[in-house]
Symmetry: C2
Subunit: 235 residues, 2 copies
């Protein structure tokens, strides 16, 4: 059986992303080091992000607004305006930093694009994700790009209906069990999990709970084309 559509998550599946957030957070810790220790900064930032998620959604702009709020609250208003401008500077660096592909991403995507329709399905800021795809050099290999505000079973259901794709002919590849894998399996699709070495706490799900005959776990993207070839002949 050949898949009608193979979809990829972007952040930390095709290119390194969480590292940008980790670096910005380190800079924030440094900036606030005379007010609070690093652990406190990290905790308060995470709490602020979580309580703002309902307003802002995902992405760098949301993260930046949460960094600013955390900085003001943690310093009890003592932070200087010039330092707030530095935080905005962190955001602009994140938004324009070079896109670093994960290993094997370039050749895997180019190879699969020859035989399959590829889609990118990603959360975050619309413009930022489109810009990253374009800067990554992989843009031409993706027939479709969908930036979504969350990745639930309903999200995938709506997308597949829109493109008139049967779930059992759909394969999703990503690094988040919660967002890329479990909802796709629940819908009847195939899912390939490629863990990334940093995971944002919010995306954590225990992988022990995934035991499924349409679930595959790989160490890196280079193993994907042979797996797909195997599935195509064996399913």
């Amino acid at each position: 059986m050949k898949f009608d559509l193979i979809a990829f998550d972007g952040d930390d599946t095709l290119w390194h992303n969480e590292i940008l957030y980790a670096e910005a957070q380190d800079k924030l810790k440094e900036l606030l080091s005379s007010y609070a220790d690093g652990e406190t900064v990290a905790q308060r930032l995470y709490q602020t992000e979580m309580s703002n998620l309902q307003y802002y959604g995902y992405g760098i702009k949301s993260f930046t607004l949460s960094m600013i709020q955390t900085a003001v609250e943690l310093t009890r208003g003592k932070i200087q305006a010039a330092e707030i401008l530095q935080i905005i500077g962190f955001a602009k660096e994140m938004l324009t930093s070079e896109v670093q592909l994960v290993e094997h991403a370039a050749e895997t995507i180019r190879e699969l694009a020859k035989s399959y329709e590829l889609m990118m399905i990603t959360k975050g800021d619309l413009l930022d994700q489109q810009s990253k795809l374009s800067r990554s050099g992989l843009g031409d290999s993706f027939r479709y790009v969908e930036v979504v505000s969350q990745k639930t079973q309903r999200t995938y259901e709506t997308l597949l209906a829109k493109y008139r794709i049967e779930p059992q002919r759909f394969l999703m590849v990503g690094n988040s069990l919660k967002s890329d894998i479990l909802p796709v399996l629940a819908l009847g699709g195939y899912a390939v999990y490629i863990p990334y070495h940093i995971i944002w706490a919010h995306e954590t799900v225990d992988s022990q709970h995934v035991g499924h005959d349409r679930f595959y776990e790989l160490e890196h993207l280079g193993q994907l084309p042979p797996l797909i070839e195997h599935l195509v002949v064996s399913l």
Copy 2:
């Protein structure tokens, strides 16, 4: 001829939006009144928004980051952190404010949804636009929602190709000549322009330049269903 798809802009076409930005800007002017006069605040904010557009794109979060940057720069760093928090508060108010439909929006959309597939095509923050559509009570009437980072001829071309819609069977309704009308006409589609009483400077195009046999201008949404009925029998 019946249209295969009728699409609507959201902000200031279906619901009032620019007024939220104008109100937030007034609050910023008030907040900065001891540092600069209102006109200067408005000018600097607009310049900051324009130079940030390439990084942030459209929407409330982008606007908020630009408000914060303007406040820090205009006060030469004298603004207090607590005041920055107030600016973040403006954003949260904007993001959760009641969605005010423009006149005739509710009945027009419900009526057209009985006979046509309706789509919303809008710029801005993904989550915010989805949330507004949901809060508007019109969500169920729209078969498709597309949040895009810009509305160029290429944007519409890509969307119509994706949904396999011929441009000459497509009608777009909106309040921006630049974003909703001219690119659709250029592509061979039909466009209905319904001006809004406030227009963001960035969206301004001289409407004198539009003389076109697939272009229609209406005063309000209530006039849309009779126009479409007329087009369907006469084209």
